[in-house]
């Protein structure tokens, strides 16, 4: 089924950006300016709201003509592209966003044509608008498997803890390992769920895709 992969929903929105020649700077540049300042850490808007595995906000200016034999085409508008792999379904996820980060959403989407004047707080109109902008999603971010965000974060934390435990307990007597692992289990069970993006590994080198 399109837009769904197990328990994960693939949401893709194409929201037309206001084309107002009187606006200086233009609305698309205002969105770009704001997106460049968004945090990717634990205070990211998508970490504050529930259910996001991966989200991406892109300003799509136009399609690029790459030369013959392609034909030259243009979009009717500039679009804000919002892609998200999230838990639940579209309406429950968007409701979660609207409740947790209404101001953040409005700051971005107020530059889009047709966005309800009442913003995310006008939930019914907000959901109707987003639904109208949705296009079918068939590709998903591969590492998102059939687990919720929280399940994934808990699994990652447990994996790290267990790998560390094994490394620390090689060669230790079985009885002691047993006692220690039971203690680890209790500790992990009692620990609060990790928050999205709370674990941040400081890398000493650039590992991004700029070099590919």
């Amino acid at each position: 089924m399109p837009s769904r992969n197990g328990s994960v929903y693939g949401l893709t929105l194409l929201c037309p950006i206001l084309n107002d020649p009187a606006a200086v700077p233009s609305h698309d540049l205002q969105i770009r300016d704001h997106l460049a300042t968004l945090s990717r850490g634990a205070d990211s808007m998508f970490a504050l709201a529930p259910g996001t595995h991966l989200a991406r906000l892109v300003v799509l200016d136009d399609v690029v003509y790459v030369g013959a034999p392609a034909c030259e085409e243009h979009l009717k508008s500039k679009y804000l592209v919002f892609e998200s792999n999230c838990d639940g379904d579209r309406d429950s996820y968007l409701t979660g966003l609207a409740k947790a980060i209404p101001g953040e959403l409005d700051t971005i989407w107020k530059h889009c044509a047709g966005y309800p004047p009442g913003g995310a707080n006008d939930l019914a109109r907000f959901l109707a608008y987003m639904k109208k902008c949705e296009i079918e999603t068939t590709f998903f971010f591969a590492p998102v498997n059939n687990k919720t965000v929280t399940e994934t974060l808990v699994a990652l934390r447990n994996k790290h803890a267990i790998a560390h435990f094994i490394a620390q307990h090689q060669g230790v007597k079985p009885a002691q390992v047993r006692a220690s692992i039971l203690a680890l289990r209790d500790k992990l069970n009692a620990a609060p769920d990790p928050k999205p993006a709370a674990v941040h590994v400081e890398r000493t080198m650039d590992t991004g895709g700029r070099n590919e």
Binding site: A163, I166, Q168, Q170, G171, T204, M205, D206, T207, N211
Partner: protein, 469 residues
């Protein structure tokens, strides 16, 4: 595709010479006109890729950094047409390559500090005497033409074992198992060295993965400078002087070898095989995970002919072992096709005095302090797509192998809290195992990116004929 014009290609690009001695001279070009005179004099001495009736006693090869080409006063339109990573040079690419911490450029040999290395002039030879006489010949040429200043040189030599030269490096591993085969390069295809075809046979990689001016694995011409004639039959070379902390390695192997498996000498050797994916005698762990097998090592049909597809859990050859990182073969699926554009050809020799045998007592810090290691050279058509990708994504990072931030145990630049995981099974002799507290077994001491031109291109440089129009 027809056979390549080997007489227009530098021999070093096409094959390892298998000569035990080398001296790499580093030159600074101080005067363009005199430098061209020097090149003109060197031109007839440069070893080409033509097959030998009789192996010569020595070889000469030449390569240039971007600053070297600028010092030759090449037209700006040509200089700026070289790929950006070559123009920037290796030092400036440190953050991508993981050349940070103790590997960062402030710790490199002084010769690399000021960006004055313009030319790499390599002498390979069968004997020390010949090496010295060729060096004297080069010195005389430099003095006579005043075409370049000799900034320094790096000696390298194969290690002698029982009176015979061998292919071992200072940690004791047998090195130099073959390179990728490329289309048109006159050599019998060795199973395991090109690309695996659907029918199970091996085919050479596209020539354009090594040489500029030919189609690569995507059917495209590699990114190359203009004019085409300057680029064609040339390649890019990475030069890295890698210091080896032999004392640290031996201490580490002894310490963890005692805790691994039965804790005996065999377990220690097996642990060493897990680091690299080959036993120290060269036996591929994938083919023989439990013991050395000299028959496999000696068999060219088998010593590089293995895949990882049936060892998805890494219980034979660990997911993070060196050979599996640098050439994952089919480990990532798709019948191995994901690696065809990430292959490099390697050249290189150890440098520095051989360490005393492992069973002789030696001070570990003293072993570390001795100037010894390996001169690693890699050849490829596209530095960013091939060498830099392997170094960045597969050596200094582990995500593709599902190893998160783990790095190559021996040549990764380690920080605090890093570990090396060895996948195992339920047998006592092959337990899952972690080595923690990884020290830096190797340290980068310098290097750069070089352009290794064709014979025609060398002539164009010498005669000031480079015209990008």
């Amino acid at each position: 595709m027809s056979k390549l014009n080997a007489s227009d290609i530098q021999g070093f690009s096409l094959r390892g010479y298998n000569m035990p001695f080398a001296r790499y001279l580093f030159l600074r070009l101080t005067h363009a006109e005199r430098a061209r005179t020097l090149l003109t004099r060197l031109l007839p001495l440069v070893t080409t890729g033509q097959l030998w009736d009789r192996k010569p006693e020595s070889t000469i090869n030449l390569a240039f950094t971007q600053r070297g080409l600028a010092a030759l006063e090449l037209p700006l339109a040509t200089l700026i047409s070289f790929p950006p990573e070559f123009q920037l040079g290796m030092k400036a690419r440190g953050s991508i390559l993981g050349d940070v911490g103790r590997n960062s450029s402030e710790h490199w040999d002084k010769i690399w500090h000021d960006g004055h290395v313009h030319v790499w002039l390599a002498i390979n030879s069968l004997t020390q005497d010949v090496l010295h006489s060729r060096f004297a010949e080069m010195q005389a040429l430099l003095e006579e033409t005043r075409g370049a200043e000799l900034l320094g040189f790096q000696d390298a030599a194969a290690i002698k074992l029982d009176g015979k030269f061998c292919t071992k490096e200072h940690f004791g591993y047998t090195d130099g198992f073959g390179n990728p085969d490329y289309l048109g390069i006159c050599r019998d295809t060795q199973p395991g060295q090109g690309k695996l075809m659907k029918d199970g046979t091996w085919a050479p990689l596209a020539t354009g993965e090594l040489l500029l001016g030919y189609a690569d694995e995507a059917g495209e011409l590699p990114v190359a400078p203009v004019p085409h004639l300057l680029a064609a039959n040339g390649t890019f070379m990475v030069y890295r002087k890698i210091h080896q902390n032999v004392g640290t390695f031996r201490e580490f192997l002894n310490k963890w070898g005692e805790r691994y498996g039965a804790g005996d000498d065999h377990a220690k050797e097996k642990l060493a095989s897990k680091f690299i994916g080959r036993w120290r005698d060269g036996t591929p762990a994938e083919l023989s995970p439990d013991r050395e097998d000299p028959e496999i090592v000696a068999d060219p049909d088998r010593n590089v002919n293995f895949m990882f597809g049936n060892d998805g859990a890494g219980t034979r050859c660990p997911l993070g072992s060196h050979v599996r990182r640098v050439n994952p073969r089919d480990a990532f699926g798709f019948e191995g096709r994901l690696v065809h554009r990430r292959r490099i050809s390697r050249r290189g020799l150890p440098y520095g005095p051989p360490a005393p045998p492992e069973n002789e007592p030696a001070d570990a810090r003293e072993l570390d302090a001795t100037d010894r290691g390996i001169v690693f050279m890699a050849l490829n058509a596209n530095l960013a797509r091939q060498f830099e990708f392997v170094q960045q994504q597969w050596i200094s990072y582990g995500n593709d192998a599902h190893l998160g931030n783990e790095k190559d145990i021996l040549i990764g630049c380690h920080g605090e809290g890093e570990r090396f995981g060895i996948q195992g099974d339920t047998s006592a002799a092959n337990p899952p195992f972690f080595c923690t507290g990884l020290p830096n077994f190797t340290e980068l001491r310098g290097g750069d990116y070089f352009f290794l031109p064709s014979i025609t291109a060398l002539g164009m440089l010498a005669m000031n004929l480079v015209d990008p129009r």
